[in-house]
Amino acid sequence: MRIKSSILVLVSVLLLVGLCPRPAGAAPYEGYTYSYWGDAVQSPIAYLPSRAISGLEAGTGAWNVPGDLFVSAEGLLYVLDSGNGRIVVLDKEWNTLRVIEGFRNGEKKDSFNNPEGLFVTDAGRIYVADTENRRLVELDGTGTFVREIGAPKADVIGAGFEYFPRKVIVDKAGRIYVVGRGVYEGLIEFDSDGQFTGFMGTNKVQFDPVDLFWKSVSTKEQREKMVQFIPLEFNNVDVDEDGFIYTTTVDKKTFSPVKRLNPSGIDVLRVSSEIPPIGDLSLDRSAFIDIDVTGNGVYRALDTTRGRVFTYNEDGKLLYVIGQLGSQLGTFKNPAAVESYENALYVLDRDLGRITEFTVTQFGSMVNEANTLYSSGKHDEAAKLWREVLKLDANYEMAYVGIGKSLLRQGEYKQAMTYLKLGNDREYYSKALGKYRREYMRDHFSIYMTGMIAVLLGGYVIVRLVKRPRKGGRVQDAVS
């Protein structure tokens, strides 16, 4: 009997263990965010790798140094297989739809030469930055040649200008923006007819005061050998639904590697967080190589230093970090491009010639949804989700701020103060404090006023009582 029951217990325990969900430790990387103080704090993982595909598995032969990836509005994956000079189009189930190897350019057969950038418009037009051929190529959805746009021609461009387009985007109005190799004047802008219209959004020149000092004391010959103070080139670009252009710069020193350019080329990226969107806060800083704007002002930047994808909201607050360099599923060797579509995220690995798909976890989708509600001003709905987020991650500061703001709007000032303090939002804490103070004084005015009058009266009486005998004493002294 005892043996029987113990076997039963054992079986049920084994069953329970088997039914339990896989522990989070099975993920190939750790989830973390940065606290207000710049400390990395653990956080649940927002996206987990679900599957990966390489050229062989797609049936197209191995991809050779793929340079760019694009997910169209319908969810089709466009892979730019740079080494083989072709475009591979996959559908949602990762079946190969089309392979664009070349195209008919007028009479002759033409093909790409080491292209690095790819963009697909909503209408399905494919734009390729055909780097070594020094031109942009526009194809329609089936891969038929439409036109090519050569090097920009204008008086402002010097004779020694080397045109190697690396990345390309097209905004809603059909304007084309190109990132050129070694072009530090900014983005090269073409109008919809392919006419060069100018440069936009130059990075600021960065220099070291120490370098400036040495430059000022050195001779002309020495100076010529020194590094010139020139602005850094952009290395990647994306466009959001409102037509704002997001750019990245590989520079481990700058505090603005991500820029959001308005149509006049001015950086309008909102950074209300204490820590600007710079990736990791370690000594060896992150170097962003690609950026992906997903809507609601949320953008993801891909870091090559540690192979991580940092997701920021429109305020420049870090939402979550995923990925890592490594050799497991979900880690990368040399990540080149990041894209997202609905609840999935795709990272292209240049060296492995592979795309990894990440799907959102419960935590990730709650954060995404809460952030969407939050940024559209629906604080009360967002607060409900933020509370769920806090159940999974009590370190998540944005959730505290979100709940705090909602409570502030509901008039729960005292509670709002607690939450805003936990979320380290001094501005809104101060607002809540001001409101709470007014409310508190309105309720307790009579007590404080009575107390004050009592203290004043009491003080006056005491002073009178203390002073009188002293006067008397002095009189007595004088008499004696």
């Binding site: 103080w37 303090k421 501005e427 804490y429 101060s430 607002k431 404090l433 001001g434 103070r437």
Partner: protein
Amino acid sequence: MPFLKDIKYSLHVAVHPFDGFWDLKYENKGKLRMALGILIALTVTMIVKRQYVGYVVNYNHPLALNSINELKYIIFPFLLWCLANWSLTTLMDGEGKFAEIVITTGYALLPLILINIPNILLSNVITLREASFYHLLDALATLWFVWLLFIGTMTVHQYTVLKTITTMLLTLAVVAIIIFLGLLFFNLIQQIVSFVYTVYQELSIRG
């Protein structure tokens, strides 16, 4: 009560520095224990300030607070200042004795306590917009302290205004030199200790 009298006198010094410091030197009204008491009270005030100042003006990382640091940043500089001032003024015909310098500096610290305590209370009910009042009071406390220190140094050593200013600036330089020498000294000691230890290790392992 002598203690109450001491407190009353120290308050008198804070508001009437010329008169007060004169009495301190020539009427022996200043007490060393009172000066040290003020120093300790200031240290406590500073610790309380770090910890309990209102959230809107408190930018301290709660995990980085360490009361030992406050001792290091208040008592140590105080002693350094007194020592540097004394060493300097003996060479510059200052009339002050070491005890007098300690007492003067100690009494000059009083405004920091006087302003800081109400300021801490105030900071807990102000909003971000009113935070400038907090910073103003903070700055006033420092100015008042420097003013008292200036008058005190002038009175104790019987200097002219210009000479007092020079002395105070030179004192800061001397403080820097003392710190430098101290670091050098400890570094050398460390080298010697590690040398001796290495020799010992060598011998013990070979033996």
